[in-house]
Amino acid sequence: MAKTGAEVLVSTLKDLDVEYVFGYPGGAVLPIYDALYGSSLKHILTRHEQGAAHAADGYARASGKVGVVIATSGPGATNLVTGLANAYMDSVPMVAITGQVQSGLIGKDSFQEADVFGITMPITKHNYLIKDENKIEAILKEAFYIASTGRPGPVLVDITKDALMNYVSKSGSKQRLELQGYRVLKEGHPRQIAIARKLIKEANKPLIYAGGGAQDASKLLLKLAENFNIPVTTTLMGIGAFPGNHELNLGMLGMHGTPWANLAVQNCDLLIAIGARFDDRVTGALNKFAEKAKIVHIDIDAAEIGKNVPAYVPIVGDANTVLTELIDDTRLSHKDWILEIQNFEFPAQTAKEPKRGDCVNCTEPNMHFAELPPPCRQKDSVDPKVVLELASSLFKNQLIVATDVGQNQMWAAQYIKIEKPRSFITSGGLGTMGYGLPAAIGAQLGRPKEQVVLVTGDGSIQMNIQELATIAAYNIPVKVVLLNNRVLGMVRQWQTIFYNGRYSQTCTGSIPDFCALANAYSIPSLRVKGLDDLDEFKVALKAEGPYFIEVAVDPDESVWPMVAPGASLCEMFHASKAPTPSWQRGQNDE
């Protein structure tokens, strides 16, 4: 029986082993939604297309599969833009399917028409505009292939409504993939790998710097570190690629990295970068980054090598393939170097402290519910470190954490110890506030047997708070931990340090009452105001369905240590306030 373009699309998604699609219907994609009606493909209806994009992204990060999102033409598609840019920056495999107006209406400023192909060109790995129903199947398969191979990334497929409605005449599957211009190098160059191995054996102070590209090479990363006894620092994207409690784990490096990681970078003589891209939040001042080290740079994307720092040994290839070749049976010991790191003396550099009670916006009468004090005079609060470490140990570090962006994200990165890869779901490159809630939904659907805990802030969550409806509608058991300091904490922290405490527009006040709001979405809630509430906190985290937990946090609570933007990694504010390192946490850390 002849099939329409939309029916071919849905059956192709099934052929490609797609389990979930996230989306939102509209005029131009009505044929797709009609084909989905009664299909076994599970569609998750979010409450905003941006939510659908982030959910597909979170699903992809947690499961390792391609995330799929569907949106209609015009505003539906433009609402995906942030989600695509976010996935592109963090190399997340995603396929976005958008409807386009009928081909005859293109270019005529038709209703809900936008040049989505043009708009998304710089924020996708590749994109397509399909006007011919006979190409849908082949292009969709090509899109999945491109999204998931090499350095992964989002691919957008824009399809005109007539192509979706027309009957497909010839079998699309017979069309061969035409991808002469797309090559994936998996094998690293043997000579470069040999040089790298030699350098590792000669090095006195080697250090592994693992990024998001190491997530799927975690077993070999562990072997590399253990066999050669090399300490490891991970980027924000690399969290979980190496066990969080391993004694060789120095923690995260960079702007809010641990002093041990940052000083190890500055003192190592060999830096082995695996699937990391020397981002400015990681390196600080580029010309002072790892000054004493030769750099071995392993990456699947040739363009990353030499982009920000010159590599002494460039290795283009897949992390697993390269590490398999690199590791041999030699056992090395770097006891002295590891002891040196553990006993680093931190520079005692302090930053400006917050100026209490000087929040400009707080004096504005309409900003608050009358009965509540302004945030800078809030009395009851809990140290975010306490709740996050408690959550971490409650699940014996076997949890999946999704975060939003800002202080909540950095505290989650510092205090929750992630033991498994693909278990720290966070917007690294783009830094998208509002990412967390929908991403947590996707992650929970991608790994249904594990518990997803969202760590968010009162600023971020309000950027996609409508997705509480999605959580409620599908009874997705995400636990939301909202660290509510009633200010835009990270920006405020910068205002404290760099703008002389002039708190311009960073006070969100006590609006709304989050627990009441969660209840309005029929999600149970808990407010944690002090240490007395922690028992209830634990119960809520272990509850069966979704739970919304609001934790009162002091607005002056800051993220330390901190390297000022553009400074060298040696120049840390409040290094002594770093989270406890793995080797001091001991074995009874539960």
Partner: protein
């Protein structure tokens, strides 16, 4: 953006791309986004109708040139990049120049010397067509400037490596 201290290199790249809608946008968009400077650009079909050839002359600091090529390679539609800068090559540009025709015989002489052509004549002006490398066209324009040039159009540079055989 570029400080005077950074030495800019002029490089000719021949970029072979899939002849697909939007491919030129992808290439120029990449240059804009990454802040690379395009000096000139010429696009046209090749001996294979599925393939187009984009000849790009760029001016970049030497250490960034490798990045330009690598980033171009990441575009799925880019099939091949040939750096012609140091190759034995033939390169051409074409220009049409509208010049005041009062001293027509002088102009004719100059046109002759440059092996250019008069392609249009009107009572007041003559239109000159010239092909050659950048320097030759620059020189002709300089010569004609004194007579009063009203309009100039120049193509981007095209280049082809000489055959080894």
């Amino acid at each position: 953006m570029m400080s005077d201290a950074i030495k800019l290199e002029k490089v000719i790249l021949a970029v072979l791309v899939r002849n697909e809608p939007g491919v030129l946008s992808r290439v120029t968009g990449l240059f804009t986004r990454r802040g690379y400077n395009i000096h000139s650009l010429a696009v046209g079909p090749t001996e294979d109708i599925r393939v187009s050839r984009i000849t790009i002359v760029i001016e970049e600091a030497e250490e960034r040139l490798e990045q330009v090529e690598k980033q171009l390679h990441k575009l799925v539609d880019v099939l091949k990049i040939v750096n012609l800068t140091n190759a034995q090559r033939v390169e051409r540009e074409l220009a049409l120049i509208q010049v005041n025709g009062e001293k027509r015989s002088d102009i004719l002489q100059i046109v002759d010397i440059f092996r250019a052509k008069i392609v249009d004549v009107s009572p007041r002006e003559v239109m000159v067509e010239v092909t050659g490398d950048t320097e030759k066209i620059d020189a002709l324009i300089q010569m004609l400037d004194g007579y009063g040039i009203s309009e100039i159009v120049r193509t981007g540079k095209i280049a082809l490596a000489r055959s080894n055989q």
